[in-house]
């Protein structure tokens, strides 16, 4: 199992990664810009994501929308923004690789001449709709917003979600958009991965041909911010929901830092799938919860570990909270069993192998090469990444749990049906998010 590649850096700083896979006559084209909502400032949120929308509206030499020529060539394409990065991808028939690189390079080098206030305002409306649809009008849609707002101080860029605050989105100025592009969207802050039915030499030649003319901008200042909480913060949020739900969030080790893989393994062991400890106790045996899940949200400046459980009707959230803490204590005291470790390792190995099946799109091989390149500075990190999971031990999991999952340093949010704040954990402060 391996993800071999060739890396070539253009004079303007653009890093080009090529992986050959000739099973299917398509190429995954994938561009990462090392910018996300963590590059935003307090009260100016939602910028990185709104900008992603604008990248599909046209550029100087093709000023009529990004989709038609690529779709006409048989491409599928998309983009996404998170706290740490923004990615754009196309999966194209091999014969359309030239076209895809032309288009990607044109919007990297020549976006601003095509960007009009009208396009900006239209996409601002689209994003406000996206926000209403995916957050405001969705049950529990504002819960994670409330958790991160409590985990991080207001000036820490993980204090807000990538979608941003509605007021900030409305207040954005066209001039800010232009400045944002100049700061972050240039070759020295980008990584281009090509994976699929292409020979390496041709791929590099094409990348040189289309991207080398774009001038490098100054490397953006790295973002530094610290966050810690010295107590357990209890919050309650009323929402249009039928069942109360508990969210427990902790700070946890940064992406690829020591303990990050352990926290990921712990999330499965504790709460993901029927074989997990908390599913078994809370959903299967005691039936006090309807569902439970956990995740290690790995990010550059520091991650957060989140546990989520919905109460079964008639069961108070406090019963879930107590059971969760008992199980956490047990993991901290005794660590995982040998069988749990074996299952975790088998699942990790299989997941890494499944990831090698697609060349493009979210999570495909081109996306992985860029992730390793941008976050670790090493596109060849695939096997190191897997090794983190294989080398984890019951003791390293126990240690990670003990180091990070403190009962007195976390955010505990009760989401309750409107008018039922009595169903929240004792001592919860009302929280307002919108």
């Amino acid at each position: 199992m391996d993800l071999p590649f060739t890396k070539h850096t253009l004079d303007n700083g653009l890093q080009v990664l090529v992986h050959e896979d000739h099973h299917v006559p398509v190429v995954g084209v994938n561009v990462w810009y090392h910018v996300g909502s963590k590059n935003e400032r307090q009260s100016r949120t939602g910028f990185a994501h709104l900008f992603e929308h604008l990248m599909f509206e046209g550029s100087e030499h093709h000023n009529t929308g990004y989709f038609p020529p690529l779709q006409q060539a048989g491409a599928i394409l998309n983009g996404s923004t998170n706290a740490d990065r923004t990615n754009y991808w196309e999966v194209v028939p091999t014969s359309a690789l030239d076209l895809a690189l032309w288009m990607e390079s044109d919007r990297m080098g020549y976006l601003l001449p095509a960007l009009t206030p009208a396009r900006f305002e239209n996409q601002r409306d689209v994003v406000l709709n996206e926000r209403r649809q995916n957050y405001e009008n969705r049950p529990y849609g504002l819960a994670v917003m409330a958790v991160v707002a409590a985990l991080y101080p207001p000036n820490h860029p993980y204090n807000w979600l990538t979608i941003g605050a509605a007021d900030d989105i409305r207040a954005m100025q066209f001039e800010d958009v232009q400045a944002f592009f100049r700061t972050y969207y240039h070759p020295a802050n980008a990584s281009l991965a090509l994976a699929g039915d292409i020979d390496t030499e041709t791929a590099i030649r094409l990348a040189e041909n289309y991207f080398s003319e774009i001038p490098a901008g100054p490397p953006p200042e790295p973002v530094r911010a610290d966050a810690s909480i010295g107590r357990e913060i209890r919050l309650v949020l009323e929402d249009r929901v039928e069942m109360p739900r508990l969210y427990i969030g902790w700070h946890s080790p940064a992406m690829f830092a020591e303990g990050d893989a352990e926290m990921d393994l712990l999330s499965d062991l504790l709460a993901n799938g029927k074989a997990s400890r908390l599913y078994r106790t809370l959903v299967y045996e005691r039936r006090i919860a309807l569902d439970i899940s956990a995740s290690q949200g790995s990010r550059e400046l520091g991650s957060f570990f989140l546990l989520v459980a919905t109460a079964a009707p008639g069961n108070p959230l406090v019963d879930i909270a107590v059971a969760v803490d008992q199980e956490l204590q047990r993991v901290m005291d005794e660590g995982p069993t040998k069988a749990e470790m074996e299952r975790g390792e088998a699942q990790a190995e299989a997941q890494f192998l499944y990831r090698l099946q697609t060349v493009g799109g979210f999570g495909g091989k081109s996306d992985q090469l860029n992730a390793y390149n941008v976050f670790c500075g090493d596109p060849g990190y695939f096997n190191h990444d897997l090794a983190r999971y294989k080398q984890a031990t019951p003791e390293s999991l126990r240690r990670a749990a003990k180091q990070w999952l403190h009962f007195d340093q976390r955010v505990v949010l009760s989401v309750v049906p409107r008018g039922q704040t009595a169903g929240a954990l004792a001592g919860s402060e009302p929280v307002l998010v919108s």
């Binding site: 299917v24 100087e60 779709q71 048989g74 003319e213 074989a275 299989a350």
Partner: protein, 457 residues
């Protein structure tokens, strides 16, 4: 430094002809239909076991029976309970899921080729010999009742459910696979057991196996796991398939509202019943849909999202099934623009039938979207296996995927206009809104759709 030529877009060459891997058919002595395909990209194997039935086979007073039966499969088999099964799946790194569709149930398991035998055995145990314990049945039923309660707050789910009912009425396709609270409460373990025996039997069932192994090896794996699966004894009462039952032509209302007080967005569905998956006009309908609302640069999305900024996205589609399928336009729009968005959507459906037929550029774009780069749909073992299961589901020939591209390419603009006029029928369109009724009531009167039928969530 050289500069790229940006005076025009680069030319794109032709796609290489698409080749689908060979499908080898086997019939095991018990009647199980096996399809094997070699796929040697990554050492992974996928099994798809597809049985007839699905939500369309739910008895009228037992909506949700098919889904609950499927849900029982991984609750226990032999010495393993639900936890034990989940652990066994994890030990072989397996991905497992069950899809309850209108006409069939597909159970899919993917694992590493070195665990092919373990994976097949586990799948066979679950599907053919589930424990069907009363305590598991009670727990799952309760979880589903609770899930239904939660879905009342999910606008998309509320819309799906109400819209199926509006279009199909009492027809077996007229409900969600999860069923409803009263039918779930009425269900007994005996219902589930009988339904399992009826659906999960070797004859008529298909097992598709795709992986990095030879046909002979793939066949041997399936024989070891499924060869001893007996056909149930005794005659089964044949039931009429949902696909053969007539669906209502005329909807109960043209405009309906499910009130959701204070909702920031209106969840919209606009559509009617259209035709069956086996229609000879299938390829032309796909092209029509791509022009109208089946892709980002389609008319509906460009109008509602890119021009008006009413929504994050809008699309149309045929929700295919063996029997008559719905044509649906779906979107979620800002409450304040609900009536305007509906009018724009209705106008797009109306105009493609003749006043504004698909243009040459739209035709080219729509066909390219459907045909070019077609091979990317078959990168993984799961993609290939699920595709072959679709062939069985819709009685399509094994050559279907290789014929798909030329078939779509042959569709012309006149045909698209013809099928638009034939299968899109504006007077029959039903518009459903899940949204803030008070806030939109006045504006709805501007629409030529009459008084809305108000439906409780």
């Amino acid at each position: 430094m050289t500069r790229a030529d940006r005076s025009r877009l680069p030319e794109v060459g032709p796609d290489p002809p698409f080749r689908f891997p060979e499908i080898v058919r086997h019939v095991l002595p018990n009647g199980l239909q096996v399809r094997t395909l070699e796929h040697r990209n990554v050492p992974v194997v996928t099994f798809v076991l597809q049985v007839w039935g699905g939500a369309g086979a739910d008895p009228a007073d037992r909506h949700g029976l098919s889904a609950l039966t499927a849900d029982m499969l991984d609750e226990g088999t032999g010495a393993l309970n639900a936890i034990g099964i989940s652990e066994a799946l994890a030990q072989i790194g397996a991905e497992f899921d069950i899809d309850v569709a209108p006409d069939a149930v597909a159970v899919t398991l993917t694992t590493l080729t070195r665990f092919a035998d373990e994976g097949a055995a586990l799948l066979a145990d679950m599907a053919t010999r589930p424990s069907m314990r009363a305590e598991d049945f009670e727990r799952l039923r309760q979880l589903r009742v609770n899930r239904l309660q939660q879905l009342r707050d999910v606008p998309q789910a509320v819309a799906e459910r109400a819209f199926l009912r509006l279009l199909y009425g009492d027809h077996p396709y007229g409900h969600l696979s999860i069923g409803n609270e009263s039918s779930l409460r009425a269900m007994t373990l005996e219902d589930v057991r009988q339904f399992h025996v009826r659906s999960f039997r070797p004859s008529g069932t298909t097992l598709v196996v795709v992986g990095a192994m030879s046909h002979a090896e793939l066949r041997a794996v399936t024989e070891r796991a499924f060869g001893s699966w007996p056909e149930p004894t005794g005659a089964m009462e044949p039931t009429e398939a949902a696909s053969e039952i007539d669906a209502p032509l005329v909807p109960e209302a043209r405009l309906a509202v499910v009130p959701r007080d204070g909702a920031q967005q209106s969840e919209l569905r606009i559509g009617h019943l259209s035709t069956r998956r086996d229609t000879p006009d299938y390829a032309a309908l796909l092209v029509l849909n791509a022009v109208l609302g089946g892709q980002f640069v389609s008319r509906v999305n460009l109008k509602l999202r890119e021009e008006k900024g009413y929504t994050y996205g809008a699309r149309t589609g045929f929700d295919w099934r063996r029997g008559v399928a719905p044509f649906v336009l779906q979107t979620s729009v800002h409450t304040a623009v609900t009536a305007d968005a509906i009018q724009d959507a209705l106008d797009e459906i109306l105009s493609i039938r003749g006043t504004r037929p698909a243009g040459a550029r739209e035709m080219m774009l729509a066909k390219a979207t459907l045909t070019r780069g077609y091979s990317r749909n078959f990168e993984t073992t799961q993609q290939v296996a699920r595709s072959v299961a679709q062939l069985v589901l819709y009685d399509l020939p094994d050559s279907y995927f290789e014929e798909f591209v030329p078939r779509v390419e042959a569709v012309n603009a006149d045909e698209v206009t013809r099928v638009a006029a034939r299968y899109l029928d504006p007077p029959r369109l039903v518009t459903l809104i899940v949204g803030d009724h008070q806030a939109i009531a006045a504006s709805l009167r501007s629409l030529p759709l009459g008084e809305p039928l108000v439906i409780a969530a």
